[in-house]
Symmetry: C2
Subunit: 478 residues, 2 copies
C-alpha cells in the first residue's frame, strides 16, 4: 500500500504536527480571507472528483485539496468579521478537545460503555449550571443541537399529560394537544410540533409586545380560548433571547401561567444561557429556575465548537419515561445505579462531547469566559451608539446582549424601496469579504442584524463593518 491510512504512528506524528501548523496558519490568516464564501452553487462539487479514489492517497495530497477547494468554498465562521446569525467560535483549547474526542471515539450511550464520558458529562453540565446560577438538583444531559433539545423537552411535556400515555398509545384518538410560544420563537419549536405529531395547528403563536417579548396576558387568554374550544393545552416554550432580536420573554410571569394551568414550561435559552456566566447578567435567566426543561447552547456563545447543546430538566424521570427503551443486548448490571444517557434523547449513539466543554471551561476559567462575553456585550453597545448617533440609521429593537438590529432609514424612499436598499447594503458589505451580517424582518420591514460572538472579534472589526455599512449607503444612494 502506498500509504498506511492508519497504523503507522510515526507517520501520524509527522502528519499531525504538519496539520497543527496548518491550523495555526489558518487561524493566523483567517482574517485575510473573505468571510462569506465567494463560490457559486455547484462550483465546489465540480472541483471534486465525481468518484472515490480506488487507492490510498497521501495526506499532503488531501491537504492540498483542502487549500485549493475547501477553504475558498467556506464561509469562515471563525473569522472575526463573522456577524451573521449567532456568531460562534472554535478557540484552540476546543480544537484540542475535539482531537481527544476523536481519538478516544467512545460511545457514551451506556454508563458502562464509557463511565468517564458519562460522568464528565454530568459533572461539566453541573459546572455550567453553577456558572449560570441555575438551581441545584437539575439533571443535565448533552444534546447535539437546541432543536433536538427542544424536541426532547416537548416530548417529555407530551408524555406528562395525565391520562394519555402517548408513548404506548400514540396520539390518534386522544385529546387535541396544543402548545404555545411567542411569534418570535425559534422554528425548532414548530418543527418539534411537526415531528411529535402535534402538527403546526397544535402550536399557537402568542403575540409579543413592542420589544418582541411574549405577552403573558395574551398567553393566558389564548389558553382559556383553546380550553373552551376543546383543545388540551400542555406546554409553553419561553424564549430567553430570540433569534431575530434577542428579546427575552418574561419567564416569571409565564411560569405563573404555567403553574396555574399545569403546563410544562420549556425555556429556549440557546443563545442567552451562555451570557449568564457573567455575574452581573445572571438576572437574564430570572424565572428559569421554575422551568421544567431548559436548553442553552455552549456551541453558540461559550466558545465551544458545534455541536454541544446543554439540556436541563427538573423532571428527568419524565424524559426517561418518554424515551427509554432497553433492548436485551444493552442491558448492564450497572443500570440501576448509574445513568445511561441514551435514555434521555432520540439518539442511542452519543459522542464524547463533554470533553471539549471541560477543556474550554478549564482553559479560560469562569472569569475568563465571563470577561470575553462581557466584552462582546460592550462591543454591541458601542456599535449601537454609532447607529444611534447617525441620523441616517435607526435602531429596530433593544440590544440586551450582543446583537444589534438596525436599518438605514431610506432617505425618503418608500417602504419597499427602503427594504430593497437595506438588502443592497447588506449584500455590498457581505461582498467586501471583511464582514458578514445577516438580516431579519421586524414589523414587516427588512432589518440588518450584527451579531457579536466570535472570540476573535475586537473593536476594530465592528468599526470596519460600520464604515463599510456607511460606504454602502453612499453607493446605494447614488
Amino acid at each position: 500500500m502506498p500509504h498506511s491510512g492508519d497504523l503507522d504512528l510515526e507517520t501520524f506524528r509527522a502528519e499531525g504536527r504538519r496539520l497543527v501548523d496548518w491550523i495555526a496558519r489558518y487561524l493566523e490568516g483567517v482574517e485575510q480571507l473573505p468571510v462569506l464564501a465567494r463560490v457559486r452553487p455547484g462550483e465546489v462539487r465540480a472541483a471534486l472528483p465525481p468518484s472515490p479514489p480506488a487507492r490510498a492517497e497521501a495526506l499532503e495530497t488531501i491537504l492540498a485539496d483542502v487549500d485549493r477547494v475547501i477553504v475558498p468554498g467556506l464561509t469562515h465562521w471563525n473569522h472575526p468579521g463573522f456577524f451573521a446569525y449567532f456568531a460562534n467560535s472554535s478557540p484552540t483549547p476546543a480544537i484540542l478537545g475535539e482531537m481527544l474526542t476523536a481519538t478516544f471515539n467512545v460511545n457514551a450511550m451506556l454508563w458502562k460503555t464509557s463511565p468517564a464520558a458519562t460522568e464528565l458529562e454530568i459533572t461539566v453540565l453541573d459546572w455550567l449550571r453553577q456558572m449560570t446560577g441555575l438551581p441545584e438538583g437539575l439533571f443535565g444531559v448533552i444534546q447535539d443541537s437546541a432543536s433536538a433539545a427542544t424536541l426532547v423537552g416537548l416530548a417529555a411535556a407530551r408524555e406528562a399529560v395525565p391520562g394519555l400515555d402517548v408513548r404506548r398509545r400514540g396520539l390518534v384518538g386522544q385529546a387535541r394537544l396544543r402548545m404555545y410560544a411567542s411569534d418570535q420563537a425559534h422554528s425548532s419549536v414548530e418543527k418539534a410540533g411537526i415531528v411529535l405529531g402535534i402538527g403546526q395547528e397544535g402550536l399557537r403563536k402568542v403575540p409579543v409586545d413592542s420589544e418582541f417579548r411574549m405577552e403573558p396576558r395574551a398567553l393566558a387568554v389564548a389558553i382559556a380560548e383553546d380550553r373552551a374550544a376543546g383543545w388540551t393545552p400542555f406546554a409553553v416554550t419561553a424564549t430567553v433571547g430570540t433569534t431575530s432580536t434577542t428579546s427575552i420573554d418574561p419567564v416569571s410571569a409565564i411560569a405563573d401561567v404555567c403553574a396555574r394551568e399545569r403546563l410544562w414550561l420549556h425555556v429556549d435559552a440557546a443563545y442567552t444561557g451562555s451570557a449568564a456566566v457573567v455575574p452581573e447578567l445572571r438576572g437574564l435567566l430570572q424565572g428559569c429556575e421554575r422551568a421544567d426543561s431548559l436548553v442553552m447552547n455552549p456551541h453558540k456563545w461559550l466558545f465551544v465548537p458545534v455541536d454541544l447543546s446543554a439540556f436541563y430538566t427538573r423532571r428527568p424521570e419524565v424524559v426517561k419515561a418518554a424515551f427509554s427503551l432497553m433492548p436485551e443486548y444493552l442491558r448492564t448490571a450497572e443500570e440501576a445505579v448509574a445513568p445511561n444517557l441514551m435514555d434521555y434523547g432520540v439518539s442511542l449513539g452519543r459522542r464524547f462531547r463533554a470533553l471539549k466543554l471541560w477543556m474550554v471551561i478549564r482553559s479560560f476559567g469562569h472569569e475568563g469566559l465571563a470577561a470575553r462575553i462581557r466584552e462582546h456585550v460592550r462591543l454591541a453597545q458601542v456599535f449601537r451608539g454609532w447607529v444611534e448617533e447617525d441620523p441616517a440609521f435607526e435602531m429596530m429593537a433593544p440590544t440586551p446582549l450582543s446583537v444589534v438590529c438596525f436599518r438605514w432609514r431610506g432617505d425618503g424612499l418608500s417602504g419597499p424601496d427602503a427594504d430593497r436598499a437595506n438588502e443592497k447594503i447588506l449584500d455590498s458589505v457581505n461582498l467586501s469579504g471583511d464582514a458578514y451580517l445577516s438580516h431579519t424582518k421586524l414589523s414587516g420591514r427588512i432589518v440588518l442584524r450584527l451579531a457579536i460572538g466570535n472570540i476573535r472579534t475586537e473593536e476594530r472589526h465592528i468599526k470596519k463593518a460600520w464604515e463599510q455599512i456607511k460606504n454602502a449607503v453612499g453607493q446605494v444612494n447614488r
Copy 2:
C-alpha cells in the same frame, strides 16, 4: 491572565504538537490498557472538582487529569480487543479530519453558511453510494445517528400518507397509523414511533424465521389483519444486519409487499451498509435499491469516528415537506438552486461531518477500505470455526458478516443455570482487560456475541479472546 486560553498561536503550536504525541502514545499503548473500564459508578465524578475553576488552567494540568481520571475511566473503543455491540474505529486520518472540522467550525445549515461543507457532504455521500452499489439519483444527507436517520425516514413516511397532512394537522382525529418491523429490529424504530406520536402500539413486530429474518408472508398477513381491523398501514422498516445477530431481512420480498400495499420502505443497514463497499459483498444490499429511505453508519464499520450516519432517499421532496421551515432570518438568494441541508432533518445546526469521511475514503481508498472489511469478515469465520470445532460450545446464529453469536452448552446444566454460567464467562473475560464482548438473548437464552470491527483487530486478538473464553469455562465449571 496566566494562560491565553485562546489566541496565542505559538502556544497552540506547542500544545498541539504535544497533544499529537500524546495521541500517538495513547494509540500505541491502548492495547495494554484494560478495554472495559474498571471504575465503579461515581468514581470518576468523585475524582473531579465539584465546581468549575475560576481562573484559567494550563493545558499540561488538564492533560495530567486526562491521564489521571479520564483514561482509567474509559472503556476503550479504540482497543483491538473491543468486541462488544458493534466495534468501531478512529483511525488517524479520521482524527486529522476532526481536527479540521473543529478548526473551521462551520455550520452546514444553509448552503450559504458553508458551500464547501454542503457540497462536500453531497459529493462524499455520492461516493459512498457508488462504493456500495446503490442506484444513481439517490439523495444523501448526513444525520448524527441511525436513530435520527430512522426518525427522519419514518417522519417522511408519515408525511407521505395521502390525505392526512400530518405536518399541518397532526395525528389527533386522523387514521390510526401502523408500521412494521421484525421483532429483531433496532429499538430506534420503536423509539421513532414513540417520538412521532404513532406510539408503541403503532408498531407491529413481525415474526422472524429460524435465522432471525423477517417473514415476508407474516408481514403481508399482519398488514391484511390490520387493514381489516381499521388500521392504516404506512411503513415497513427492513433491517439489513440486525443488532443481535446481523441477520438480513429479505428486502426484495419485503419491497414487493410494500409496492403492493403502497407502503414506505425504510431500510436500516446501519451496520451492513459499510460491508457493501466490498465488491463480493454487494449482494447484501439486494433489494435496497427499491427503498424509499435507507440508513448506513460509516461511524460503525467504515472507520469514521462517531457521529456520522448516512441517510439516503429516493424522495427528498417528501423529506423536505416533512421538515422544512424557513424563517425570514435564514432566507437566502441561493435557496432555489442550492440545497439547504437543514431542510432534511430535525437539527438546524449541523457540524461539518463530511470532512472526516472524505479524509478516510481518500486515505484508505476504496480498495483499502474493502480490504480491511474483508479481513474482518474472514476473522469472524475463523472464530466461528473454532467455536464449531469445540463440542463444549454451540453456534446460535449464522455469521453472514463479522459478528459471531455462540454460547457454552453448559455441560449438562439446566437452561437457567447454563444462562448464568454464560453470563459468568462473559464477566470473567471482560474483567481480564484484554477483550470486551457483549451479549444478547436468542430464543430466551443468553448468547455471547463477538463483534469484529475495530481496524486494529488482528487474528492474535480473537485468538486471545477465544483462549480466555475457554479458560473462563474451566473456572465456571469448577
